[in-house]
């Protein structure tokens, strides 16, 4: 009966109860989403870092780590690869040659790390091939060997051009752009712009301020194109210190969420690079290994350290300790964030329950007079708070669950901050992810907050003197 009265009392003042229920619901939603976004971001960052950049484990010649001299190849590389074939925790590995080269296009020069890879092995280790904007990832054999570069390297080499071609104007979506804009675009002419800045200037000259503000960014993107097929001349040393200038043709351009990586890393066929640089057929600088999972990757790093004592073996947490630290950092941030939400929530519940108690002084006095002992009064007020909180918690669970399900598929696009995020290596589209443990923990914490918050109002009710309480109006 106490529970029944508690539940019915919740619905006495529907508006007030609904305010608390909505507050609890939003509290849970806020906590779950904040935690989900942070975890999603970090999970994506860790995934991108591992599957695009560093893999789970890397093996090098120990001295190569200090001085990236091209002659410091891995000793007994073949033997190491044979051993890796026998370890079940090794899902895939990719032997690489890694050199720094000056790269020259017809219009600009830039410094790039050139990774010589065996295509078939590389795509098992790295997901760069999934991030191609144009072209392919080192497919087929060509007279002029292929190179795959990042979009930011392409921009630095002035290989991202802008041109208002008649074909592109014809295929502009007339529903999306007003006719007058399309006709004004024709005035820009067929000129090719190598810099975004110059193309934007041309647009501002031909469009009104309002038109440029509304359509400028979309037009820049629409008329941009990468100079796929352009040749790049690499300047690097061979094993004997001689400067060589092999030429590669761009056959793929990729874009990851890390602009720094995209601006600095190029991929070529390892055998070609070894031939140009006079490295032996089996000479490699790096073995990148993928394990069954991130935690297993850490353990594999430790295991392989013992296996290959003569080489430098590093797990991803040691290669990039800041990334490993992110996980702990986000957990801490999540706790702080949820803590603040719960703190605010506690005050909401205390306020509502105090109002509820003070409004019913006479009734509580009557209950005490006719024989409801203090324990029962206390439980009744507690039950009301807990019902309020649980109702809000269920609503919050359902609401957060739906939003998480949707955003987990579609992602949340922070496009307007994309530049900043990507400069730090984070994707501007985040897919919130919440583990069941986090989800249940947040709900339990909210319910505990509800229970704790009800103690004060319940104690207030206990202090009532039935005689005085009955006298109130």
């Amino acid at each position: 009966m106490i529970l029944s009265i508690g539940w019915k009392n919740v619905w006495r003042n529907k508006t007030r109860s609904m305010v608390v229920i909505v507050a609890v619901m939003l509290g849970i939603f806020g906590g779950v989403m904040a935690s989900g976004i942070m975890k999603g971001w970090i999970a994506q960052r860790i995934h991108a870092s591992i599957y695009n950049e560093i893999s789970h484990v890397q093996i090098h010649n120990p001295e190569f780590m200090l001085n990236e001299d091209m002659n410091l190849t891995i000793e007994n590389a073949e033997q190491i690869l044979n051993v890796l074939d026998t370890i079940p925790e090794v899902v895939a590995y990719s032997p690489r040659v890694k050199l720094f080269a000056m790269v020259k296009s017809d219009w600009s020069t830039s410094g790039l790390y050139v990774k010589g890879v065996d295509r078939d092995k590389e795509i098992e280790v790295s997901e760069i091939y999934k991030h191609l904007l144009e072209g392919d990832f080192l497919e087929g054999k060509h007279r002029i060997p292929s190179i795959v570069i990042g979009s930011d390297a392409a921009k630095a080499l002035k290989l991202l051009n802008y041109q208002v071609t008649p074909e592109k104007i014809d295929s502009l979506n007339v529903e999306e752009y007003p006719v007058e804009i399309i006709s004004k675009l024709g005035d820009i002419g067929d000129k090719r712009f190598r810099k975004e800045k110059d193309f934007r200037e041309a647009l501002t000259e031909n469009l009104t301020k309002h038109e440029y503000k509304e359509y400028g960014d979309k037009l820049v993107e629409y008329f941009s194109f990468y100079r796929l097929g352009a040749k790049l001349e690499l300047t690097l040393q061979d094993t004997s210190g001689q400067i060589i200038n092999p030429v590669f043709k761009i056959r793929g351009i990729y874009k990851t969420s890390n602009t720094m990586f995209d601006g600095l890393t190029a991929f070529v066929d390892r055998q070609k690079l070894n031939t140009y640089t006079k490295l032996g057929e089996n000479d490699i600088h790096e073995i990148a290994i993928i394990s069954t999972g991130n935690d297993e990757g850490k353990e594999l790093g430790i295991t392989l350290e013992e296996y290959f004592a003569g080489s430098s073996v590093m797990g991803w947490d040691k290669i990039s300790p800041e990334i490993a630290m992110y996980t702990q950092f986000t957990s801490l941030m999540g706790i702080i964030f949820v803590g603040i939400i719960l703190f605010a929530l506690a005050f909401g519940i205390i306020n509502t329950m105090l109002m509820s108690v003070l409004e019913r002084v006479k009734e509580l006095g009557m209950l005490m007079a006719i024989g409801m002992n203090r324990k029962r009064v206390f439980y009744m007020i507690m039950a009301e708070s807990i019902f309020l909180t649980i109702t809000g918690a269920i609503a919050g669970m359902i609401f957060s669950g739906i939003i998480l399900e949707i955003t987990g598929r579609t992602g949340i696009n922070f496009n307007m901050y994309a530049e900043g995020f990507e400069a730090l290596g984070y994707s501007s589209v985040v897919y919130p992810t919440v583990s069941w443990f986090d989800y249940i923990s947040i709900i339990i914490l909210v319910i505990i907050t509800g229970i704790i918050s009800s103690i004060w109002p319940a104690r207030k009710a206990l202090k009532l003197n039935p005689v005085e309480a009955l006298r109130t109006d």
Partner: protein, 227 residues
């Protein structure tokens, strides 16, 4: 059989700077089956006396025995439990729990006593039928008139099978028809089931029905008339 015994009961309030002597040495006894009214002007000590009879307040001096139990010795939860099992209350403004139906309001007190569901149901039904509300078991207080609510309150007061029922101005908020009706029910219960009723009232209609009228003034019993 004595239900209530007050021996040289005094009540002094020390809360404010001025001492208030609300009750001054009252000796009273109530026998089982009495239908008594305590009357007196405002500030006469009538309410204080009633509170002490109901175990809601304790005397500063003197002793109160209810059903032989010296209630001065009871405190906190024991006193609340004592009230639950021994005293029925009817208040001026009905004081039903608004979220519960008539049936639940009556049943609630028995549930606190730990009475089985079956017995609760039977007794609730019987009590509400007795007060003429057999057809309003599932009505909420706001769906009932003032008179009907007060009848539910009487049924609730009787639900715990108390030694006596204390009714504080039970007719103050009722029209004459409802008052008549309520008094008839209480008189019937008193006569047929020997239930002791003690009223605090200003209402002459109640005074007329009462078989004993105790007049209180300045904290003292001015007269104690039996009809």
């Amino acid at each position: 059989m004595k239900v209530i015994e007050l021996k040289k009961v005094e009540k002094i309030y020390n809360d404010s700077e001025v001492k208030v002597h609300a009750v001054r040495g009252i000796d009273l006894e109530f026998e089982e089956g009495e239908f008594a009214a305590i009357v007196g002007p405002s500030g006469s000590g009538k309410t204080t006396l009633l509170n002490m009879l109901g175990g809601l307040d304790k005397p500063t001096v003197g002793d109160i025995y209810i059903g032989g139990t010296h209630i001065n010795d009871l405190s906190g939860s024991k006193l609340i439990d004592f009230r639950l099992f021994n005293i029925g209350f009817v208040f001026q403004s009905y004081n039903l729990i608004p979220v519960l139906t008539a049936k639940e309001n009556v049943e609630f007190i028995m549930q606190m006593q730990g009475i089985s569901q079956e017995e609760r149901y039977q007794r609730t039904k019987a009590l509400l039928e007795e007060v003429g509300l057999g057809d309003r078991l599932d009505s909420r207080p706001k769906q009932l008139s003032g008179g009907q609510q007060q009848r539910v309150a009487v049924a609730r007061a009787l639900a715990s099978k108390p030694k006596f029922v204390l009714a504080d101005e039970p007719t103050a908020n009722l029209d004459s028809k409802s008052t008549e009706n309520l008094l008839e029910i209480m008189e019937k219960l008193n006569k047929e089931e020997n239930i002791t009723f003690i009223f605090s009232t200003h209402d002459q209609r109640v005074v007329k029905k009462a078989r004993r009228v105790i007049t209180v003034e300045d904290g003292k019993v001015l007269s104690d008339e039996r009809k």
